[in-house]
Symmetry: C2
Subunit: 340 residues, 2 copies
């Protein structure tokens, strides 16, 4: 096993206390986040412990002799096939390395994420891959500081030291806007995800930057959520405001756009131009296959597992942020524009 | 808490040993399935322990004072939206009862299921809802005998005493065949799931029974698997053999049928009649909404959770088999037949 070297060299609480120049009792309280220890001392000891690769709690110590060979993955939805694909790709990569995977679905509730992380960390998983909720930033940063092998995927936490795997929406969004401009499919209506998520913000910024890159006036934007219903409402709203093209900001809103066009009796590629988000197999099965911005979630999932697997073996990643470019996959869902 | 009464009365290993008339050491070995104890004695002690509500291992005993308030759910796929819907519905029901849910996906591998069950049982979940693989029947029956609250869903294990929640394919299949006969859409090509699953067998039998009920000759059958690729291959095969209607045996094969019709340039409802399986939102978003056999997976998921919740409170279900009828949801995916 590749992890044995790391196992043998794992430091004890005594080692941490000695290096920090405090008593074992103080080190123990600091690792337990006990307010009896001053915040600055706690932070210093936790950082030192993380640097030394010390695992603090009873479960983690037990793992030194008995790993569970199981990792956890925490996602905000399973109804959203983007996350179902992510989970399955992580699991396949983990299986290839002899590790089992358990999954929790937070349904975008921070309190469910908090409980999930506590359960996973205290019930013997060796490491966690998590799509973070910003409301859980402190808990995640603490787990990381305490030495839990942890990788963030899809969304990022500003200023967090936790290794993170995300996609860059800009290349795909540039190609999408460029294609719509070529097809004279203006104005564009963009269905944005929630601005409380890094992906919601980054994709909206990428869309607006792509518009500026093409010297376009500000286009139409609907501020929605990562849900089919929001996609349906947003598409209806944008169509009522004269949008001749719709660009969706995630899988679920893409499904909502299909639903809105279907109900409105609009034939995609003939009456309206549509660019979806994520390369779901079902999007290729429309009467005209959908043009989509693809995040390459399989690549991201494998990268996240590779980083986690490295952490389990005691290896820090050389880069803390791994960024996969989005790409445009051309289908046949744009109206033919007038010839120039 | 509704479970306290059951908690206080939970018997010890000593109680089991006394009732069985054996030493505590023998009772302990029997509960651990140690072959040093004769099979008949082991079975007798395990059955007695289950009857008494005894929980055997260290984790389970620890639970007497500290429940994790977490249940596990084990499914064979998350890419299949039928199971993603099931998991999410169980989780919603559990949340309503103040319980968290952790999920494992076996990818239809019995060894992954075996490892999942072992992990869940030994890492403190209070109960498990499982789509069983027949290769894991013994492990599941043992967990049940050892007092782990356990409910099977979707698939059943012949002769198992574990409470089970399934759907009955017959009503939906009868209505489907009846509608196809009315539309003169014969011969019918049926895409069967794997006969190694109870659902694969029961749905094929239901289709054949429905054909007999309508005095039809044996129709075309493709024996596939619960995968999109099998649905694609099966539909292609059945179309090449003259099928004028396709009936799919699960969600993933329905997607494969859509793909095959799409690639063959066949317009569903005009060039070919199609009846899908499971009421996925995406099936209603076809140019003509798909007619589907609906298992009412939300109902099944809530039933399974209700039974599990009862077991956690020490209540045995009044019926060991809960069966939800399938229903036909009419879309517009059948060709208009000649008028009689």
């Amino acid at each position: 096993m590749t992890t044995m070297a790391a196992e043998h060299s794992r430091p004890t609480l005594k080692d941490v206390a000695q290096r920090a120049g405090v008593s074992i009792a103080t080190a123990s309280r600091a690792m337990a986040d006990n307010p009896a220890v001053a915040t600055t001392t706690r932070t210093r000891i936790q950082a030192l412990a993380a640097e030394m690769g010390y695992l603090p709690n009873a479960q983690a110590r037990a793992l030194q002799s008995s790993r569970s060979n199981t990792i956890g993955i925490v996602v905000p939805s399973l109804i959203n096939p983007y996350f179902a694909t992510m989970v399955t790709a992580v699991q396949n990569a983990a299986e290839g390395a002899g590790l089992a995977t358990i999954i929790t679905n937070t349904d975008e509730h921070p309190e469910t994420m908090a409980a999930s992380l506590t359960f996973l960390a205290s019930h013997g998983v060796d490491g966690i891959i998590c799509v973070p909720d910003e409301a859980c930033a402190e808990q995640l940063n603490n787990l990381h500081a305490q030495g839990m092998p942890l990788v963030l995927i899809d969304r990022e936490l500003t200023g967090s030291p936790i290794p993170t795997v995300i996609s860059d929406p800009q290349p795909g969004m540039d190609a999408a806007v460029s294609l719509l401009v070529e097809h004279h499919a203006l104005p564009i209506g963009y269905l944005s995800g929630p601005l409380s998520t890094s992906t919601g913000r980054a994709r909206l910024e990428a869309f607006q930057q792509a518009c500026r890159n093409h010297d376009l006036e500000p286009q139409l934007v609907f501020r929605g959520g990562f849900e089919q219903e929001q996609g349906y409402q947003g598409a209806t709203h944008l169509l009522n405001h004269g949008a001749r093209a719709l660009v969706a900001g995630d899988t679920m809103m893409t499904i909502g756009v299909l639903q809105a066009c279907h109900r409105a009796g609009l034939s995609i590629g003939e009456d309206i131009s549509v660019i979806g988000f994520d390369n779901q197999p079902i999007f290729a099965l429309q009467p005209r296959p959908l043009t989509v911005i693809d995040q390459q979630v399989d690549v991201m999932a494998r990268q996240a597992f590779t980083v986690l697997h490295g952490l389990l073996a005691g290896t820090q990643p050389t880069h803390n942020h791994l960024v996969t470019p989005t790409i445009l996959i051309q289908g046949d869902s744009l109206m033919k524009g007038p010839q120039p």
